[in-house]
């Protein structure tokens, strides 16, 4: 929809200055985010293998790994933060690629909690709530279906991780060993070194140093990602509006591409999918046109972990980041072309929403049950 003619804007120079400041800020935040990932790797190195082995005891069970991924992402409400942390842990060698795969799949499920919570805000308006809850939970059902298909496939054939390793080796210039030369790693290494020196001066011994570096790394990852997302959203809001506006009446591949591009820009699938909820609730965007955009968001969100992996210079870290991307692309490639499977998540979401409309407490029970109670109980029982 074009809502007007283009005219000269006297406020344009000030607006451009603000945009330049925001771009610079995002670049600084991005650098600090990569330093955060580097600090995770550094902190783990100081803690020693005994401590880290006990910390990750249990995640060798893929179901526990999956549930840990769900729960961790629900807690931080960002799959980018979880997957980047996983990338850092894989780079540090405390998590193997095979243990990390179910965890990134869990992160995919956990990230959908944000838009489900957003949809609950429409509880008082029945029709709006039904649409909003459908829009939110179709993402849940798609991701659950993707895990139901691809996790057993990965566990039995290692198809995703093998393919991802090939891609990672290709991306790392054919590195056959555990590491590759990354210009990003060199630049980030300088920042990590400065922080490390400062922390060493504060901490008395290796374990304290490890804990401090780990906590600083985690803090940097979460805080910088929050502000990157916030600034990028403000920076590209106008572009997102134009793109979504153009996609309102379109479905299919275009929607997937729109979701991918928008999510890559804001570095958060939760932001993209949460923006769709009021549009669907108000009837401006129909559920079936919103669906491919959420699938694209799954792919777009993997860019953050890929970036983090490139900064580690570790092939394994790149492998797990690529696995995350391939998992999401693979899920679309399997589910979307099939006429029987394509709209199964949408149909399931509509049925759940219709049930929740009749018994509204069901919406809250579902959200807490799927995202908190079941993962928590599962971890406690299976660990």
């Amino acid at each position: 929809m074009d809502v007007g003619h283009v005219a000269s804007d006297p406020g344009a120079p000030a607006s451009r200055r603000r945009a330049s400041v925001k771009v610079t800020l995002v670049l600084v935040l991005l650098y600090l985010f990569l330093v955060g990932v580097g600090l995770l790797e550094c902190g783990i190195g100081h803690l020693g293998s005994g401590f880290t082995d006990s910390l990750f005891h249990g995640v060798h069970n893929p179901i526990v790994g999956l549930l840990v991924g769900i729960l961790a992402t629900v807690l931080v409400q960002s799959s980018s933060a979880t997957t980047s942390t996983i990338v850092g842990l894989v780079a540090a060698g405390v998590l193997s690629v095979s243990d990390a795969v179910p965890m990134v799949m869990g992160a995919n499920i956990g990230t959908t909690v944000t838009n489900t919570i957003v949809s609950l805000a429409h509880l008082r308006q029945s029709r709006e709530f039904e649409l909003a809850f459908s829009a939110a939970t179709m993402h849940d059902f798609f991701n659950l279906l993707a895990v139901a298909i691809l996790l057993p496939l990965e566990l039995t054939t290692h198809l995703l991780s093998t393919l991802a390793r090939d891609v990672a080796q290709l991306l790392s210039g054919g590195a056959s060993g555990g590491t590759f030369d990354s210009p990003i790693k060199g630049a980030v290494g300088w920042g990590v070194g400065r922080v490390e020196t400062t922390l060493e001066a504060i901490a008395g011994h290796a374990t304290a140093m490890g804990v401090l570096a780990l906590l600083t790394g985690l803090l940097l990852v979460f805080v910088t990602l929050t502000f990157i997302t916030k600034n990028m959203r403000a920076l590209v809001a106008n572009r997102i509006e134009r793109t979504l506006n153009a996609a309102l009446r379109r479905s299919g591949t275009v929607g997937i591409l729109v979701g991918t591009v928008v999510t890559m820009a804001v570095q958060s699938s939760s932001i993209t999918t949460s923006m769709l909820i009021p549009l669907v609730a108000s009837g401006i965007l129909v559920l079936r046109n919103a669906y491919p955009i959420t699938l694209g968001a799954n792919v777009g969100t993997t860019i953050t972990a890929l970036l983090a992996a490139l900064a580690t210079g570790e092939v394994d870290a790149l492998t797990i980041a690529v696995t995350h991307t391939l998992f999401n692309i693979g899920a679309i490639a399997i589910i979307y072309p099939s006429t029987r499977l394509r709209y199964l998540p949408v149909t399931m979401a509509e049925k759940l929403a219709a049930m929740a409309l009749r018994r509204k407490p069901l919406a809250l029970t579902y959200t807490l049950g799927v995202f908190v109670v079941m993962p928590l109980l599962g971890i406690l029982i299976l660990r």
Binding site: M1, G4, H5, V6, R233, V236, N238, I240, E241, V254
Partner: protein, 224 residues
């Protein structure tokens, strides 16, 4: 479509909405002119009917597009734009109603109203021209976001509201043919509504959001 993301546009959504609102009022003015030509001698010809209906349909579509754009903007943009978004959600209704009431004036011609041989033709024509100028000025003021001119325009228009009421009362007391009295009462009533909606458009520049539509109320009923 995806390339839309990479295309540079110097205009924000709210600026584009402002442009669209101004265009809606201009289109309303076109409907007004066509309707006035019908009641002042032109009659309800097929050509005028097509022009009035077509332009009004365009205004209605524009209203829907603006509302969609505002909901999309509210979903995507930062909360800092919330007041403007809500103001424009309200103002778009006023922009649409100008064309709507102008169409109602055209309907008077359709029902047989013709002011060409009216004894008070000069006065009727004077009101026609004053309201026409009011709409034109309102568009210019809205586009320039000129607060002082908006206040002046509100005062000018507010005085007109009382005059319309006097004419409606006079139509009630009229002993002439009922068709003349009804035509006049409705004509002034529609001019009053057009004027009130133009004033509401101006209040979006001058007043805080809670005082929008202030001039929809009669003077005695207005909140302080």
């Amino acid at each position: 479509m995806v390339f839309e993301f990479f295309r540079s546009s110097g205009r924000s959504t709210l600026q584009e909405v402002e442009d669209r609102l101004a265009q809606m009022v201009r289109d309303g003015r076109a409907v007004y002119d066509a309707a006035m030509s019908a009641v002042f001698g032109g009659g309800a010809s097929k050509k005028t009917k097509k022009e009035v209906k077509g332009t009004d349909r365009g205004i209605n579509e524009a209203q829907q597009e603006v509302r969609k754009a505002l909901v999309l903007h509210a979903s995507v943009a930062a909360p800092i734009d919330v007041p403007e978004t809500l103001v424009y959600m309200s103002v778009v209704k006023d922009a649409e109603r100008i064309g709507d009431y102008a169409k109602n004036i055209y309907d008077l011609a359709k029902y047989g109203a013709d002011f060409t041989s009216a004894p008070d033709l000069e006065e009727l024509e004077a009101y026609r021209d004053r309201v026409g100028r009011l709409i034109d000025e309102a568009v210019a003021v809205f586009e320039a976001r000129d607060i002082s001119r908006a206040k002046e325009l509100i005062n000018t228009a507010d005085a007109l509201l009382d005059e319309y009421d006097d004419h409606v009362k006079a139509a009630f007391a009229s002993t002439g043919p009922a068709s003349d009295a009804v035509a006049r009462a409705l004509f002034y009533r529609f001019l009053k509504r057009i004027t009130a909606h133009v004033m509401n458009l101006m209040t979006s520049i001058v007043f805080p959001i809670d005082r929008l539509d202030y001039y929809d109320e009669a003077k005695d009923d207005r909140m302080p």
